[in-house]
């Protein structure tokens, strides 16, 4: 079965370093205080490796990728 990749963020862990928005501007922008706003919906396949890089770069391990069954 085909699965979907979703970005999740632990808001308590996030300190607004902003690396994720640098590495994945297609999906993540920063608000006026430097905290990420993530585009809704699954991560498109062509961005999967960039998303993985953003997750790996997060200094507080707040950002994660979760593979789930597709939402209808």
């Amino acid at each position: 079965m085909k699965t979907e990749l979703h970005m999740t963020i632990d808001r308590i862990k996030c300190d607004g370093h902003g690396l994720c928005a640098e590495l994945l501007p297609e999906m993540i922008r920063l608000d006026d205080w430097g905290y990420p706003i993530i585009a809704p919906g699954p991560v498109p396949g062509r961005l999967a490796s960039h998303a993985q890089r953003a997750v790996a770069a997060c200094p507080t391990l707040a950002l994660a990728l979760r593979r789930t069954a597709p939402s209808k």
Binding site: D10, R11, C14, D15, G16, D31, W33, G34, Y35, I37
Partner: protein, 401 residues
């Protein structure tokens, strides 16, 4: 209309009803276990703490989990204008405990924690005294814990966090407390008014529960009336009673009203003309995009400025952020500052634009629903007081010192 179930019995002014009087008046709860869970599902009872979550569904989820369980009777009542939980605890403590221990028997809980706001002295004393009067088997598993005087202390994951680790701040969900709560055990966190209703359903059944209620609502609800009404205070009415009917029971309005704040600080402003017909029932209001919350109804007199009141409440909500999540702490503070500038220095286009932008960006970006509730409240103000926000004069000289 007015109907006493939870608050039936001896005069409320005579203090807490003792265990002997309580048992003589009502007998013992008859049903527990699987039969009680199914009865709760059929009853349609929803949580009275603010989220209106279906109670039967919550019990089924905890019952399906493995290992030892914990029950929390939530009487934190952090909502500033709400008084119904402390009134219930101070007068009918055993009804609350009946519900909590019925939950403990049904879910085979090893602990019952009675979580009461530290500032509610009378309610605390009544609950502590009532707990000491219970049978030994119940006293052994029951204990009291104080909720700090903070708005978020009653949020269920914050309650669990405090009881577990002494810190009343929300935690990241999932896992939800009903999956993994106190000491990792599945935990049922239930508001005290909800527990009191469960105590009666365990005696009289779900059909009896549904025999009260109007316009699709079931059971009764405790309402705290505040603001421009002749007799503010706590009332018990059938679910589905309209705001106009409740205000009439409280002697009517004391001066012309411009708007009603429905559901407390996490609720919504509604223009008075539209508010009177609204039925006080959690699920019905929810389907209209509104929220009964913990049942606070604040009537705003036409002589008060809605923009200034909104600005004051936003400041409070910003200060009550538990300072864990950036979008909540910084976002609510910025929204509150923009509201204050409009209230104090007058309308300006930049701040109106900021309010609109941030009230879209901030919600959904905290570990708990604090930013969502605060922004929902603000958005209702922006629509209810649209004219006042568009042309607010500078009010800074009229602020109380």
């Amino acid at each position: 209309m007015s109907r006493l179930r939870l608050l039936a019995g001896p005069d409320l002014g005579s203090g807490p009803e003792g265990f002997a009087d309580h048992t003589r008046r009502l007998g013992a709860p008859a049903v527990s276990g699987r039969a009680l869970i199914e009865s709760l599902v059929r009853s349609g009872l929803t949580g009275r703490g603010g989220a209106s979550f279906p109670v039967g569904q919550k019990w089924r989820a905890v019952a399906a989990s493995k290992g030892s369980r914990v029950v929390v009777a939530n009487g934190a009542e952090g909502e500033p204008q709400s008084h119904k939980d402390r009134l219930l605890m101070a007068t009918r403590p055993h009804l609350v405990l009946d519900g909590a221990f019925a939950a403990a028997r049904t879910l085979r809980a090893s602990q019952v924690v009675v979580y009461v706001g530290e500032e509610h002295g009378t309610a605390w004393n009544a609950m502590a005294q009532a707990l000491a009067e219970r049978p030994e088997a119940e006293r052994r598993i029951g204990r009291m814990t104080g909720a700090p005087h903070r708005y978020v202390a009653g949020e269920s994951s914050a309650a669990v966090h405090l009881i577990d680790a002494g810190v009343a701040t929300p935690t990241t969900t999932p896992p939800h407390p009903r999956e993994r709560g106190i000491a990792g055990a599945p935990t049922l966190v239930q508001n005290v008014e909800t527990l009191a209703n469960i105590a009666l359903i365990a005696r009289y059944g779900d059909e009896w529960f549904r025999s009260a209620g109007r316009r699709g609502g079931v059971g009764t609800v405790l309402i705290t009336l505040a603001g421009a009404v002749k007799h503010p205070g706590v009332l018990e009415v059938e679910a589905g009673t309209t705001i106009e009917e409740v205000v009439t029971i409280a002697g009517g309005i004391s001066e012309a009203a411009s708007a009603v704040l429905l559901g407390g600080y996490f609720g919504s402003w509604v223009p008075a003309a539209q508010a009177w017909e609204l039925p006080l029932d959690g699920p019905t209001l929810r389907s209209n995009g509104l929220n009964l919350g913990c049942g606070v109804i604040g009537v705003l007199p036409a002589s008060r400025c809605g923009v200034c009141d909104t600005s004051r409440i936003m400041r409070y909500l910003a200060e009550e952020s538990s300072a864990q999540c950036g979008p909540c702490f910084f976002g609510l503070r910025a929204l509150s500052d923009a509201c204050s500038r409009i209230a104090e220095r007058g309308t300006n286009r930049d701040d109106i634009a900021r309010l609109k932008k941030w009230s879209v960006e901030v919600p959904g970006r905290g570990a708990c629903k604090h930013p969502d509730g605060a922004v929902m409240f603000l958005r209702s103000a922006l629509s209810t007081f649209a004219d006042q926000f568009a042309s607010h004069p500078a009010h800074w000289r009229q602020q109380p010192a």
